[in-house]
Amino acid sequence: MTTKLFYDLFALAVFAVVIVVGVPFLMGFDGFELNTFARYLALGIVSLALALSWGSAGLLNLGQAATFGMGSYAMAMHLKLKASGDALPDFMGWNNVPELPLIWIPFHSLGFTLLAGLLVPAFVGGLIAMFMFRARIAGVFVAIITLAFLVAFQLVVIEQQGITGGQNGLTGLAPLSLLGWSVDTYDVSFYYLVAGCLMAAITVGLYLTHSKFGLILRAIREDADRTRFFGYNVANYQTVIFCISAALAGWAGMLYTLVLEFASPTYMSVSFSLAIVIWCAVGGRDSVIAAAIGAIIVNLLEGRLSDVFVEGWNLMLGVIFVLVVMFIPRGLHGLIGDLWKALNNQSHKQRANEAEPKLQPQPVKSGQEK
C-alpha cells in the first residue's frame, strides 16, 4: 500500500468520525443546525465531483452547475408530482399547460427519478464531453464551452416555464418517502442520509483517483499528446471522467433539493458554478476529500460571516478567495502537505542534531534531501 493511499484512507477515517460523530455532537443533535450542515455536505459532493474532472484530469468544467441542476430538478419533479396528487402541478396552470407534459410522467416513480438524477446528467455531460474532446479541445476552451453551455441551459430552463416553473423554479414540494420512511429534513436521520451519501461519494472518488484510471487522467492532464502515444484513447478517458463527475453532481443536486425543499434555476447560474470552483480551489483540487472539506468550510464561513458582518460578508469572501488563489494555489490540502513536509524536515533535522553528536563528533550532512 502506498503512503498516499494510506494518507487518504486515514483522512477519510478522520473525516468520517468528524462528520458522523463530531459535528452532530457539537451541535447537540439539533435538527435545525444539522439541517444547515446537511446543506454544506450536499455541496461538498458537487465540489468533490468537480475535483475529479478539474483536479485529476485538468478539465475545468464551468458548467458543473448545469448537471447539478438536472439532478435537483429530477428530484423536485418527483416531489412536485407527489405534492400535486392527481391534479396538474399548480405552475402549469399558470402557464396554461393543459396536461402533464410527457417528460414529467415517468417521474411518478421514485426509482426512475433516482436513476434519472444520476444518468441524465451523466448522459448530457458525456455528450458535451464527446463533442469537445473528440476535437481535442483543452484548457481554457473547455472552460468557455462549458460556461456557454451553462448559460444557454439556464436560459432554456427559464424559458420553458410550462415544464420547469421558469424563474421561480419548482416549489411547494412534498417530503420524500423512501421505502416507507418519510424524510423529515429537520431530523437527525436526514443528516445521516446526506452524510452517508457524501461518504459514499468520497469513497468512489478516492477509488477513482487511486485506480490506474486516475493515474492515466493525471498523465493526460500533464501531457495529453504524450499519453496518446502510449496508446490511450484520451478523449474516452476524458469523457468518462466527465460523465462520472456529472453523475455525482446530479446526485448532489438531488440531495440539495431535499434540503432546501425547492429547485431553482439559480442552481444553474454562472455565479453558483464559479462558487463550486472556488470551494474546490480552497479545499484543494488534488484531493477529493479536501475539495469536499473546502465546500463545507467556505459555506460555514459564509454562514458565519454573514451572521456577524451583515454588510461586509460578501466583500470578505471575495478578499479571501483572491488571497487563497494567490498564496495557497493548491488549497488547504496543498498547504497542509507543505506544512507536513516542512515539519518532517524539521524533525529530521532535530533528530539528526540530537542523535549525531553522540555518535559522531564531526558535523554530518543532515536530512536535507532535495
Partner: protein, 411 residues
C-alpha cells in the same frame, strides 16, 4: 454617501466571540439572553441584483421598527430586528429564513421582493407555522395561511386601469414583460379585462430578467404602432427599457408605457425627462397627500438622505410593521406566537400613507389603487384615484376559486 456602518456586528454576540473556534461550528443563537424583547426578522437582500429595490424596503421596515421602539415599543417591550442578507439568491433566502424562524425564534419575518424569493421562503414558513410579511405587489394565485400580503394583486392594479387606458389611448395593447410568472399572470388577467372592455393584444413578449438591450423590442413596437405599451418589466431591465424608449423618441402622448412595476425608484434611475408622460398603476405614490405620508416621507428623507425616494413597495414594507404592531397590541403579551399574531391581524385597519388599509381574512390587503403620470421632476401626478378601497382577489382571473381565511376554496 453610504449611510450604513461598514462592519456592523449584529446582535448581542460580540464579533470576537462569534468567530472563536467552538462558536464557529455551531451557529450560536442570537436570541439567547435577550429578556423580554420581541425578535423580528428582516430578510431583504442588501447585496446582489435585487438589492437595488430590496435595500429600500429594508430601510423602510427598519425605520418603522425603530420608530416603534422609540415610542416605547409594544406592551413596553422592544422589537428586536434581526437582520439577514440573502444576497439575491433563493437558496440563501431559504437558508436565512430558517435561521430567523428556527434558530432566532422570530415571531414574524419581514422580507423580499421577487416571487422566487417568496417561494423559497414558503416551505420553512409553512412548516414552522411562522408568519412572513411580504410587502410586494405580486401575481396572486397564492393562498398561504402563513404569509401576510401587503402589496397589490392583479385585480387591484388593473380593474380600473384597463378601461381607463382603452378610453384614453385606444384598444390596441402591446405587452412587454420579463420572462417569469408575475408578468405572465398579470398579462393573463389583463387579457380577460381586454376581452370584457373591447381591447386587443397586438403583441405579447417576454425578455429575460436583467435583459438590457431593447432595440429589437423598440423596433417591433414602432412597426406595430400599438395604442398602449402594457409593461411588466422589472428592475434594471425597466430602467434600460425606459431610457431606450425615450432615446428612440417614441412619444408618450401617442404610445404611453403603462407600467405595473415602475415606481419612484426606477424613475429616479431612468431620469425624470425620459420617464415623463408615461404612467404607472399603484396604490401609493410618493406625492400622496395624507398626513401619514407626509410624516413617512419626511422621516425617511431625514434618516436616509434628501435624495431618497419612497415608493409603493417601501410604503407597504413600512406600514406592515405597523400592522404587526397593532396586532401585537391586541394580544396578551404572554401569548405571542406567529399564529396568534395572524389571527389578531385579520380585520385590522390602519391609516397607512396611501390611506386606510384593511387586512382581509385571506391575509391580503385592501388598498387604494391610483393611476399616476410621471413628471419631469421624478414624481407622479395622480390622474385617477379609486373612489373605494379595493378588496384583494388573488384568484380573480380564475372562476370558481377563492382565497379565504380557511385557505383556497373551490367552486
Amino acid at each position: 454617501m453610504k449611510r450604513r456602518d461598514f462592519l456592523r456586528g449584529v446582535g448581542a454576540v460580540g464579533t470576537a466571540s462569534a468567530l472563536s473556534a467552538p462558536a464557529f461550528l455551531t451557529t450560536v443563537s442570537r436570541a439567547a439572553a435577550q429578556g423580554t424583547d420581541i425578535p423580528v426578522g428582516l430578510l431583504f437582500s442588501l447585496t446582489g441584483a435585487v438589492a437595488v429595490v430590496e435595500s429600500t424596503l429594508h430601510d423602510a421596515a427598519l425605520m418603522a421598527i425603530e420608530e416603534i421602539n422609540a415610542a416605547g415599543g409594544v406592551h413596553g417591550r422592544q422589537l428586536r430586528p434581526i437582520i439577514e442578507d440573502p444576497a439575491s439568491d433563493p437558496a440563501t433566502y431559504a437558508d436565512r429564513a430558517r435561521r430567523l424562524m428556527i434558530r432566532d425564534k422570530c415571531v414574524s419575518v419581514f422580507g423580499s421582493y421577487t416571487s422566487a424569493s417568496r417561494q423559497a421562503v414558503l416551505p420553512v414558513t409553512e412548516q414552522r407555522k411562522n408568519l412572513y410579511w411580504y410587502p410586494t405587489l405580486y401575481e396572486g394565485r397564492e393562498c398561504s395561511l402563513n404569509v401576510m400580503y401587503g402589496g397589490a394583486v392583479p385585480n387591484q392594479q388593473q380593474d380600473e386601469l384597463i378601461p381607463w387606458a382603452i378610453e384614453n389611448f385606444g384598444p390596441r395593447f402591446y405587452m412587454i414583460g420579463n420572462n417569469y410568472v408575475y408578468p405572465k399572470e398579470e398579462n393573463n388577467y389583463c387579457k380577460t379585462l381586454l376581452e370584457k372592455h373591447g381591447g386587443e393584444v397586438v403583441h405579447e413578449e417576454y425578455v429575460p430578467l436583467g435583459h438590457s438591450d431593447f432595440s429589437s423590442v423598440i423596433n417591433r413596437i414602432r412597426a406595430e404602432e400599438p395604442d398602449v405599451i402594457f409593461a411588466t418589466v422589472v428592475g434594471d431591465s425597466d430602467v434600460a427599457f425606459a431610457r431606450q424608449y425615450h432615446a428612440a423618441e417614441l412619444d408618450p402622448a401617442k404610445m404611453p408605457v403603462i407600467s405595473l412595476t415602475r415606481s419612484e425608484v426606477e424613475v429616479k434611475a431612468i431620469g425624470g425627462e425620459a420617464a415623463a408622460g408615461h404612467f404607472s398603476s399603484a396604490p401609493y405614490f410618493m406625492g400622496t397627500q395624507t398626513p401619514e405620508n407626509e410624516r413617512f416621507v419626511e422621516s425617511y428623507k431625514s434618516r436616509y438622505g434628501a435624495d431618497q425616494v419612497t415608493h409603493f413597495v417601501s410604503e407597504a414594507a413600512y406600514f406592515q410593521v405597523y400592522q404587526f404592531k397593532a396586532a401585537l397590541e391586541k394580544l396578551d403579551p404572554a401569548n405571542i406566537t406567529p399564529e396568534t399574531i395572524r389571527d389578531a391581524a385579520v380585520g385590522l385597519t390602519l391609516n397607512a400613507p396611501q390611506g386606510e388599509v384593511l387586512i382581509d381574512e385571506n391575509l391580503h390587503t385592501h388598498l387604494w389603487p391610483k393611476i399616476g403620470q410621471w413628471q419631469a421632476n421624478g414624481q407622479a401626478e395622480v390622474m385617477l384615484e379609486s373612489q373605494n378601497r379595493v378588496a384583494p382577489l388573488p384568484y380573480a382571473a380564475y372562476e370558481g376559486q377563492r382565497c379565504t381565511g380557511e385557505g383556497l376554496v373551490q367552486g
